[in-house]
């Protein structure tokens, strides 16, 4: 697990055999608050990307350094590259699904999404800027569509935290067009007009449609069902049938983060009320809350929902210098 925080550093935690977490690396990554950190697919090695207020994004790789066995507790991370194209704070960074190769998307506060690619996966110091998409709105978060099906072309959703009260859609979806070799806007979720803090596509897991969770002033879950290709003009953009399947204002405040489990069946959200809520769909595709936990891990009193989830204090003695801006689990998955 990797965490990043406002104190400009990133920490990497490893889980030991008996389930304890140990901080195996902690280093200063940026000269500003680190907004997000994300793992690349393990196929590409132990690679992290972080983005920061200091207008850069950086790619890090763990190397087997000179450390002998005694010092194995601390692993060594080296900066492979710094992506300096943005002129404003880089607010999110995400690696593309692995079937697309080693690709990285960043978005920045000036409303530009940039997609980089490392042509040579063995050489992480070379990244070429492949695409630049202008969203016209200050971007706060991006999410790749994880579907690796050939029926779905690469897609990226961008959320904006622009808080001007205009009616522009705050979630835009861009799709890669094989013919023009460019990303073009496929859809915009017109119903989302409040600032969006986080956005997440669910792991596709063989579904014929995509599920997108949006964290704005409430939790929203959308499904995007691609209409059959035959109906759309060939080579054009896929048209989607978009449904909002759930909308929850239980947080009663701004929702800060959303995250899907590995199958895309349970959504976790965290809000300004200091609670973590879990959402799950039943067989009828009705989403409902299956658990509420306070930020400090205690179950919420008097909640009628019986918590399926049992929180255990992960590492009480972890004293982080500062608040954590983002965390990214799933290290070393294969």
């Amino acid at each position: 697990m990797a965490t990043c925080s406002s104190d400009q550093s990133v920490k990497v935690w490893d889980k030991s055999e008996n389930g304890d977490w140990h901080c195996t690396a902690s280093w200063k990554t940026h000269s500003g608050s680190v907004w997000r950190v994300t793992w690349a697919h393990p196929e590409f090695g132990q690679v992290l990307a972080s983005c920061s207020f200091d207008r850069t994004a950086a790619v890090w790789e763990e190397i087997v350094g000179e450390s002998n066995d005694k010092l194995r507790g601390q692993s060594h991370w080296v900066k492979r590259t710094t992506l300096v194209d943005s002129r404003t704070s880089v607010t999110d960074v995400k690696f593309a699904p692995k079937h697309m190769g080693l690709m990285l998307a960043t978005c920045s506060a000036d409303g530009v999404v940039r997609i980089y690619e490392a042509p040579d996966v063995m050489n992480l110091s070379q990244w070429s800027l492949q695409h630049e998409i202008s969203c016209k709105l200050s971007c706060s978060c991006i999410s790749w569509n994880p579907s690796s099906s050939r029926a779905h072309s690469p897609m990226i959703a961008v959320g904006s935290d622009d808080n001007s009260p205009n009616i522009l859609a705050k979630v835009q979806i861009y799709e890669y067009n094989e013919n023009t070799r460019k990303y073009a806007k496929a859809e915009a979720l017109m119903t989302v007009t409040d600032p969006v803090h986080d956005i997440a596509f669910a792991p596709n897991l063989g579904r014929s449609f995509h599920i997108l969770a949006v964290a704005t002033k409430d939790v929203r879950i959308f499904t995007l069902k691609p209409l059959r290709k035959e109906l759309t003009s060939s080579g054009g953009l896929t048209k989607f049938e978009i449904h909002i399947v759930a909308q929850f204002d239980n947080h009663n405040s701004q929702v800060w983060r959303v995250s899907w489990n590995i199958t895309g069946t349970v959504l976790a959200s965290s809000g300004d009320d200091g609670c973590v809520r879990l959402w799950k769909a039943n067989y009828m595709d009705n989403w409902k809350c299956t658990g509420i936990l306070k930020g400090n891990g205690s179950p919420v009193n008097g909640s009628s929902q019986q918590g399926i989830f049992n929180a255990s204090l992960g590492s009480a003695n972890t004293s982080l210098q500062n608040s954590l801006n983002g965390s990214s689990a799933s290290r070393k998955q294969s």
């Binding site: 406002s6 935690w13 800060w256 895309g264 929180a311 070393k332 294969s334």
Partner: protein
């Protein structure tokens, strides 16, 4: 602070005490409320905390402002600024110990009476107390008192005219001579000491902010601004200061004092309080009048004066601690992000501002989140009933129990899946029957069954369709039973095939359902057995089954009643029995019993009561339909049911669709609904001879499932799945991924070398196993040059490992035993991708057990550590 509105202050050194002041000072003590009931006299502040009133001090009227002595001792010493400008030291409910005794009651009196607006203790030199006063002609407005000046009156007498009008008795307690007098001809609205230097005082004067340097009181730095209220220094960034005016907050950087570095968005209502959080960097809380919201500004990046023109990043949040308007709030000095708020009517509330939580799921159903300075991990509770478990957990457990891998008795897979999902049960039975029948037809003479094979995979829907064309197959048969003379059964070869797929009858053409009934009886499924018996027009058998069920171990005695009712069956149209049965059957809970009576009371040819009894298994309904519906009806029914199943993604429908494109459609909606790619993959693999596997969607499911197993670190399971897959679908066999080529001629040496029998390229094929040639293949078969040497034993590759444990090295005969596999792995070539050194796999493994560096001298490559994943243990072995 206006007199009517309460203000609130935390004790600087007692984490559980705070003071609320309006017209009097009230000291409260915070307790954690473990029990839900309140102790007498305590107030509930939040779910976890209560407050108890410790003492009240109403000695000092006309309070305008209060400041708590910053040092630990004397405790509970407060300075109170009054409306007449006097500053009084007072204390709350403390025994007057020696040190504070001298101080309490001390008064500091300015020359001219006017309102005292603000007080500030010097945090370092705690004897210094600064007071900010309103303007009075050309008098000074900022007075710094020294509380330790005990003999102030005497010194005052000695140096200056006594202006004191107070009684002589109090003389020892009244101080009139301030240490410093600042801010002449001005008013002071707010004050704070700068932590940068203990002699620097920042004051919000009338229309300007000024920094007074006590080392040189004649000079001051000032800047004209309206934002002069509530000056306060960021405790984490000593050059950063906030002040406000009306609804606007200005942030200043003292290094560049000319103008605010930042102004926060203006609030519609005037602000009443602005405070930096003492436990978190750059968090500023603001409160406006008549509002129940506290606004928080997280300022990680205010611009610095040194040529950095980035726009500031401020995360704005608002919290609502209570429903009422808030009069004031105070941050807890040490407890993280905690504050107490007080409303105008003095109700209080203890409140913690939560950090924004960022969270992430791990692949193994646990959720991590970061809250404040802690990381939390949350895992799914094992005790949750299986129905509520998430599909991710289910699939994980199923993968561990080898679900889907039982190819001998396919139906057993549903047991491996936990034997709790009726749909899965139905699915695997269907697959079982399909495969069973397929094998059977293969065994039979090809001419008889001809092209039935593919038909079986195509499901009952196609079977029924095919029977439509061959009308001659249809044979009406009056039932042999004397009673059901009017019931028509239909028979054809295809229909009996369908019945076989439904599991009612075994192979062949005999229509005996007895084995099926027996197996149902064994499972204790009495109602279903009885219904099946009845649908086969054997009412006597049905009654017998029900009796048996009633008398069995934990049987339901009601079954006897049902049996009784059955025995009274009469086919007279208007009998009382009929009437009663058709009304009462609706009250039966068991769908099978219900269907039985529906069947018995139905008019001939219309069996809707049975066919559309949705709780009866699809399997039985279809079998029933195949028996009693005529071609047109049957076709319609099957068609309708298939569509229903496809729509719902009900796996029972695989019976109808078979493993065809229809089946894939059905499976797609099942996957859409549940995300269970595991079942989908295994199920579709069974249909391998047909072309369903080529369907893009199926391939996609399989790929997803493999990725899932990888993400769980179930690498062995993934390998098992791949083996299983390549057994059923030979086309999916991956190609050899590694070739060993000769250093000299570049040709692959694999075709003659025993060391790398890739991907099942059989050993026997190359005459390897046990053949004497094996040990001699030490040269490239293409150019006859020797193969490279093992770095450890320095013998050319291709030779068997000499140090095999046990006696296996003595003779090659033992190679045929189980040791052979192990020995062969030891023989394998292995090399480091980085330094290109290598040798026998067995040698290398044992070397790296004790060493980290490459065995080749002068090579410092840490070969084993390069592969970080290699050090991980597959999850399934950890769990086992």
């Amino acid at each position: 602070m206006s007199g009517s509105k309460p203000d609130i202050l935390w004790a600087p050194h007692h984490v559980d005490r705070f003071v609320v002041c309006d017209s009097e000072l009230s000291l409260y003590h915070i307790d954690s409320a473990v029990s839900s009931e309140l102790k007498a006299g305590s107030l509930r502040l939040s779910e976890e905390t209560t407050a108890t009133l410790l003492s009240i001090n109403s000695d000092t009227p006309y309070m305008k402002c209060v400041a708590w002595y910053p040092k630990y001792d004397p405790e509970c010493l407060l300075a109170v600024g009054q409306a007449n400008g006097r500053v009084v030291l007072t204390s709350l409910g403390q025994d007057h110990n020696s040190k504070s005794k001298d101080l309490i009651g001390k008064e500091f009196v300015p020359k001219h009476a006017r309102q005292c607006n603000t007080l500030a203790w010097n945090p370092l030199d705690s004897n210094w107390l600064a007071a900010g006063l309103d303007k009075h002609r050309a008098d000074f407005s900022v007075l710094i008192w020294d509380i330790s000046s005990k003999y102030a009156p005497e010194t005052a007498v000695a140096t200056e005219k006594v202006r004191l009008s107070a009684g002589d008795a109090e003389a020892g307690l009244v101080v009139t001579k301030p240490l410093y007098e600042l801010g002449q001809n001005d008013a002071c609205l707010s004050l704070c000491w700068l932590p940068r230097d203990q002699k620097l005082l920042l004051a919000g004067m009338h229309r300007n902010l000024a920094i007074f340097d006590l080392r040189n009181t004649s000079q001051k730095i000032f800047v004209n601004t309206k934002a002069v209220q509530g000056v306060t220094v960021d405790p984490y960034f000593h050059d950063r200061v906030a002040s406000f005016y009306e609804g606007q907050v200005a942030i200043w950087d003292l290094r560049k004092f000319e103008k605010p570095v930042l102004t926060l968005t203006e609030q519609p209502k005037p602000l009443t309080k602005v405070a930096w959080c003492p436990t978190r960097t750059g968090l500023l809380a603001t409160l406006t009048r008549d509002s129940n919201i506290i606004r928080l500004y997280d300022m990680q990046h205010t611009p610095t004066p040194i040529g950095d023109e980035t726009e500031p990043t401020i995360i704005e949040r608002s919290v609502q601690p209570c429903d009422n308007y808030i009069a004031s709030f105070a941050w807890h000095p040490t407890s993280q992000n905690r504050m107490v708020v007080v409303t105008p009517n003095r109700t209080m509330s203890d409140f913690t501002v939560f950090e924004r939580i960022s969270l992430a799921w791990s692949p193994v159903t646990s959720l991590m989140w970061a809250c404040g300075r802690h990381l939390y991990e949350c895992t799914e509770e094992g005790k949750a009933s299986s129905l509520e478990k998430d599909i991710a957990t289910k699939m994980r457990l199923r993968a561990l129990s080898r679900y889907g891998l039982d190819t001998e008795q396919v139906w057993r897979n549903h047991l491996l899946a936990g034997n709790e999902d009726p749909q899965l049960k139905s699915l695997w039975y269907t697959l079982h029957y399909i495969l069973y029948f397929f094998q059977y037809t293969e065994d039979m003479d090809q001419k008889l069954t001809g092209n039935k094979g593919p038909l079986v995979y195509a499901g009952i829907k196609s079977i029924v369709k095919s029977s439509l064309g061959t009308t001659e197959n249809l044979r009406h048969s009056r039932s042999g039973s004397d009673r059901q003379a009017d019931i028509i059964q239909y028979l054809s070869e295809e229909r009996s095939l369908a019945l076989q797929l439904c599991g009612w009858i075994k192979k062949g053409t005999d229509l005996d359902v007895e084995p099926f009934l027996n197996s149902l009886e064994q499972e204790g499924d009495w109602e279903r057995a009885a219904a099946v018996a009845l649908f086969n027009l054997d009412i006597r058998r049905a009654i017998q089954i029900l009796n048996k069920g009633a008398s069995s171990g934990k049987g339901d005695l009601n079954l006897n009643v049902v049996a009784m009712a059955l025995s009274g069956y009469t086919d007279e149209k208007n009998s009382l029995w009929r009437e009663m049965c058709s009304t009462l059957r609706l009250q039966l809970n068991n769908p099978y019993l219900c269907a039985m009576f529906a069947f018995l009371t139905s008019e001939s040819g219309s069996y809707d009561g049975v066919l559309y009894e949705n709780n009866v298994a699809v399997r039985d309904r279809v079998a029933f339909a195949c028996k009693f519906l005529n071609d047109a009806q049957l076709n319609r029914f099957i068609e309708k049911l298939t569509n229903e199943m496809k729509e719902a993604g009900n796996l029972e429908g695989i019976l109808l669709t078979g493993l065809t494109k229809d089946g894939v459609d059905l499976m797609e909606s099942y996957v859409d609904r549940t995300g269970d790619v595991q079942t989908a993959s295994y199920c579709m693999l069974q249909g391998s001879p047909s072309d369903v596997l080529k369907d893009e969607r199926v391939q996609y499911w399989i790929e997803n499932y493999r990725n899932l197993l990888d993400a769980w670190r179930f690498w062995h399971k993934r390998a098992e799945f791949d083996i299983h897959r390549s057994k059923l679908d030979p086309s999916s066999k991956p190609l050899a991924q590694v070739f060993v080529s000769c250093n000299f001629c570049g040709k692959s040496i694999s075709y003659s070398c025993s060391a790398i029998p890739h991907q099942g390229r059989g050993f026997s094929q190359y005459g390897v196993s046990g053949s004497p040639t094996k040990s001699k293949v030490t040269s490239c078969p293409g150019c006859r040059k020797p193969l490279p040497r093992c770095a450890l034993c320095l013998i050319n590759m291709g030779t068997p490992v000499s140090s095999c444990p046990g006696g296996s090295k003595s003779d090659e005969k033992v190679d045929l035993s189980k040791d052979k596999k192990l020995a062969q792995f030891n023989n394998w070539f292995t090399w480091c991708h980085n330094c290109r050194h290598g040798g026998h796999a067995g040698h290398m493994l044992s070397w790296f057990r004790d060493h980290t560096e490459c065995p080749v001298s002068a090579c410092s490559c840490k070969c084993m550590q390069l592969d970080t994943t290699g050090n991980l243990v597959p999850a399934e072995t950890v769990q086992a």
